[in-house]
Symmetry: C2
Subunit: 124 residues, 2 copies
DNA sequence: CAAACATACAACCATTCGGTTGTATGTCAA
DNA sequence: TTGACATACAACCGAATGGTTGTATGTTTG
């Protein structure tokens, strides 16, 4: 795994680890919003909201497009998906553990059918 | 959305926003590890690793089981899945936006078939 | 042009974070 | 019982975070 990937993962998870930023992400995924339109929604200064937007932009969760004097922010769903895929990879690690456990059980009880864990492994 | 859910989301994303902690999660999802076994893997003090484990435990990403003088940590895949589902919900918000845009296009060009965006909406 | 608006950014501040060392407590083994 | 090991936790430190206010710069409009 490249070091840059870890940097990116740090930035993405950190960006999402704040409820104001998660809320901004929801809004800009639903549609374009100017920074001041976003700022109007929260009980904090314009500068604070602008900094949140900057954190999200650096993490790649949104991009900005200038239109006149406004800066329109738009959510990037691919960034959201890349985070989801990191979690899927983690789930895969866990599935490997369960598979190993099942193999052990099968070796101990050669005639028993695989116990088929209640919540895993999904093969769909 | 309950306030507690946001607290939990904060804790989960924050816990995952550190590469050492993500690595610990990988290891404990793959199998049980004592805290000192984990600490041996990283170039930092035992106390530092123990604090990382505590952060992950508070977020619900792992749980500990005492065995003799050791504390065995085990990853909780359901917590990982709950994070993934938050991201899926975000993706759903984005899909709503695309659906709205498609509806507008359909209204402007009543005879055109829906343009079917390159990466969305997935209906599988 | 001037005034109002939208944004950007620097400086500052309190709190949190990620690390350290040191100490206390519990458990296993000789 | 006495060490040695595994864990927990407090106290501390520098850096980053999340907020503030103030100032500068561009853009639209009267």
């Amino acid at each position: 795994m490249a070091e840059d990937d870890e940097d990116r993962a740090d930035a993405l998870f950190h960006a999402l680890a704040d409820r104001t930023r998660r809320d901004i992400v929801r809004r800009v995924l639903a549609g374009e919003h100017s920074v001041s339109a976003l700022a109007a929604k929260y009980d904090m200064s314009f500068a604070a909201v602008q900094k949140h937007v900057a954190v999200l932009e650096k993490a790649g969760l949104l991009s900005k497009r200038r239109q006149g004097r406004e800066q329109l922010a738009s959510g990037d769903v691919d960034a959201v998906r890349s985070v989801a895929s990191m979690l899927t990879e983690l789930e895969g690690v866990w599935r490997g553990r369960i598979a190993r456990i099942d193999a052990l059980i099968a070796a101990d009880h050669p005639t028993q059918p695989p116990p088929s864990h209640p919540d895993g492994p999904r093969k769909d």
